[in-house]
């Protein structure tokens, strides 16, 4: 394994390809991006407490350092793509020389944020699908190359045998392949059902407070806020609460729409001629992720509670080499459930989609277990809070809230049980579970590279087990939770013939 690291012996004969540098424009982009983060502190330092010559010199020094570091990065970074390897050399003081065999490349992720787009540049990340042992995945990053070069790299890097390169193909319509899925504006209705709005509002509030703080404004003496507080003091409480809830709701929903549009605008999922699936999306930062189809091990359908209530779902790829940043596994943004199933089927070339398979329910013992696990902690919390109130350390409302929440937890436990299920199709192991985030995973049976079977003490008492299918892709192991031990082992045995069989025994009947 270590042979892939460090310097490889130069690949033999065919004319050595040239070393490439990153695009020269990255020298401008890099300082601008980094300076943008420093802008506010710099302005504050400059104008709060007056100008002084040493401050100007300081700013100049920072600017010079940024430009110089950009220059050095450009001078010291180079890459080349030979017949067999991708090589990347970088670093001035600590020289890094990486070399990855091309047949290890699994994904190519091309991202350009606004500043990169202004300069016509893209960041290319290449995932190798190899774990470095510490749980993170090995990847090569080229920050940044021209958009044209990024497109060339995307096509070249995932292309294996030149023979597979397009033979003249008359059937293909001009302008690329028809998309497997494309953004439908009606999907926007699912935006408020994701929690992204909350996140957005949280981030904005945090940002606003930081700004006020840096500008040295006490929020209590901030004009608009002050007026709002005065209005609240003069108005009846229910009206104030109603107004606050309405404003928050409007912000959250508005934020969710904005985030959905920013992330998923121009979303298109296509199957390319070079045997890859390609997802393109983004309004400001554009992103293009190419996944080698051969390395796709399955799909996962996720339905967060709210989205599920609204009949929506997301679809993601279970593949190797998808560790290249958040969202690289995305195949479909929040969209109607039927669309998610359809995309799952299209992507896996499987009709009907394995995610729609009817699942085998888990035994009643599993329901009991889900209920206990949901209820016991909530009851303990309620009792502790009540005891606190009884001693007089706490007010009474916390334990009342905890008691009111108990039925919700009971429902959660039941829902978690209802969602449990598993099935085996001709090519896939399908498993479903979860309530707040329900996920249905269809994993290729040929992608299973081992089993991890767990039984807690209480699971042993109940005759249940958690059967984990170990795979090189995605999260590394996909579990069938709280299945009857016999059923689970039968599933594992049937899914991958001959692997488990030597270690199984069948108890004498009776």
């Amino acid at each position: 394994m270590t042979a892939a690291d460090g310097v490889m012996p130069a690949p033999p004969p065919p004319p050595e390809p040239d070393w490439h540098r990153l695009d020269a424009r990255m020298m401008a982009v890099k300082p601008v991006t980094e300076a943008a983060g420093l802008l506010l502190p710099v302005i504050l330092v400059m104008f709060v407490g007056g100008l002084s010559p040493w401050k100007l010199w300081g700013a100049a020094a920072v600017a010079a350092a940024l430009v110089l570091s950009g220059l050095f990065r450009w001078l010291t970074t180079s890459y080349r793509i030979s017949e067999t390897h991708v090589q990347l050399h970088s670093g001035l003081l600590v020289r890094k020389e990486r070399s990855v065999p091309r047949d290890r490349l699994r994904t190519v992720d091309v991202t350009s944020d606004l500043i990169h787009r202004v300069f016509g540049l893209s960041i290319v990340k290449v995932g190798t699908g190899r774990n470095d042992g510490a749980g993170s995945e090995d990847e090569l990053t080229l920050d940044a190359v021209s958009a044209a070069e990024a497109e060339r790299l995307r096509q070249v890097l995932l292309r294996r045998a030149p023979a597979r390169e397009t033979a003249p193909d008359e059937e293909r319509p001009a302008g690329g392949n028809p998309p497997l899925a494309a953004l439908d504006h009606r999907w926007l209705r699912y935006a408020p059902l994701t929690l992204s709005g909350l996140v957005a509002v949280g981030a904005m509030t945090g940002g606003a407070f930081q700004l006020l703080q840096q500008l040295d404004i006490d929020p209590r003496h901030f004009g608009p806020l002050e007026e709002a507080v005065r209005w609240a003091a003069e108005t009846a409480l229910p009206v104030v609460v109603g107004a606050v809830v309405l404003v928050l709701l409007a912000l959250v929903i508005g934020g969710a729409f904005v985030i959905y549009v920013v992330q998923y605008w121009h979303f298109r999922l296509t199957r390319e001629d070079d045997g890859t699936l390609r997802v393109r999306r983004g309004l400001l930062t554009t992103r293009s992720v190419s996944i080698e189809e051969q390395r796709l091990r399955g799909v996962s359908l996720s339905e967060p509670l709210l989205l599920r209530a609204g009949g929506g779902a997301r679809c993601g790829a279970v593949g190797t080499g998808l560790g290249t940043g958040e969202g690289s596994e995305l195949l479909l943004p929040p969209a109607p459930l039927s669309e998610a199933h359809r995309v799952a089927g299209e992507v896996l070339r499987c009709d009907p989609p394995p995610t729609t398979t009817s699942l085998r329910r888990h035994p009643a013992a599993a329901r009991q277990r889900r209920l206990i696990r949901a209820l016991v902690p909530s009851l303990v919390v309620a009792v502790v809070l009540a005891a606190g109130a009884w001693i007089g350390w706490l007010p009474h409302w916390p334990w009342l809230v905890a008691v009111v929440a108990v039925p919700f937890f009971a429902w959660l436990g039941l829902d978690r049980y209802r969602n449990l299920g598993h099935a085996l199709t001709s090519r896939y192991v399908v498993s479903r579970g979860g309530s707040l985030l329900r996920t249905t995973v269809a994993l290729q049976r040929t992608g299973v590279i081992g089993w991890r079977i767990r039984q807690s003490f209480f699971q042993r008492l109940a005759g249940l087990a958690t059967i984990g299918a170990v795979t090189a892709a995605g999260e590394g192991v996909y579990e069938v939770l709280d299945v009857d031990l016999g059923d689970g082992l039968a599933l594992a045995d049937a899914a991958v013939p001959d692997l488990l069989a030597p270690f199984l025994e069948t108890p004498e009947p009776g």
């Binding site: 003490f457 005759g463 795979t471 192991v477 082992l489």
Partner: protein, 167 residues
């Protein structure tokens, strides 16, 4: 009980860990509990009179620690078992919660041994078998050093002889 009584069962893997592993687990657990206990005892000696609940936590730690140190190693020894065939590595581990791992030889990437200070003292080793998965390696802990070495050699041989790209 009728629950889970139907269908196949996993049979226990053939081999046990070394009996010395019991000593290893005992010392290991004792050290862990001492680390937790000593600061409490010091605190008790310094502020004992002012904080009577310190006595309770010290007693609690002592009781739980003693129980865990007495019970866990024996229990673990009965659970920990392993087996390597030409096709797969099969290991069982844990005690209160238990785990079975099966990894086909064709998917093995590396086979290593690991020896902590205590294990070296007792002549023990842990064999770690990694595959391409992020689910973590299959670990066979508390083997006699010779057994561990033989296992590593055998697995390396069979891995070499078995084709497969490990993903």
């Amino acid at each position: 009980m009728a629950k889970g009584d139907t269908g196949p069962r996993l049979r226990p893997p053939r081999h046990r860990a070394s009996p010395r592993a019991i000593t290893w687990w005992t010392i290991d657990a004792a050290i862990g509990w001492l680390v937790l206990l000593l600061p409490q005892v010091v605190a008790l000696l310094v502020w004992g009179s002012a904080k009577p609940w310190l006595t309770l936590t010290v007693i609690g730690t002592l009781v739980v620690g003693a129980l865990h140190t007495a019970v866990m190693p024996q229990w673990r020894y009965r659970v920990h078992r392993w087996e390597a065939t030409r096709e797969a590595v099969f290991a069982r581990s844990g005690w209160f919660n238990q785990e079975w791992r099966i990894a086909p030889v064709s998917r093995i990437q590396t086979v290593d041994t690991e020896r902590g200070a205590l294990q070296q003292l007792l002549g023990l080793a842990t064999v770690t078998v990694t595959t391409a998965s992020a689910a973590g390696p299959v670990k066979i802990a508390g083997l006699d050093v010779r057994t561990a070495q033989e296992l590593v050699d055998e697995l390396t041989r069979t891995t070499m002889a078995t084709p497969g790209d490990a993903t």
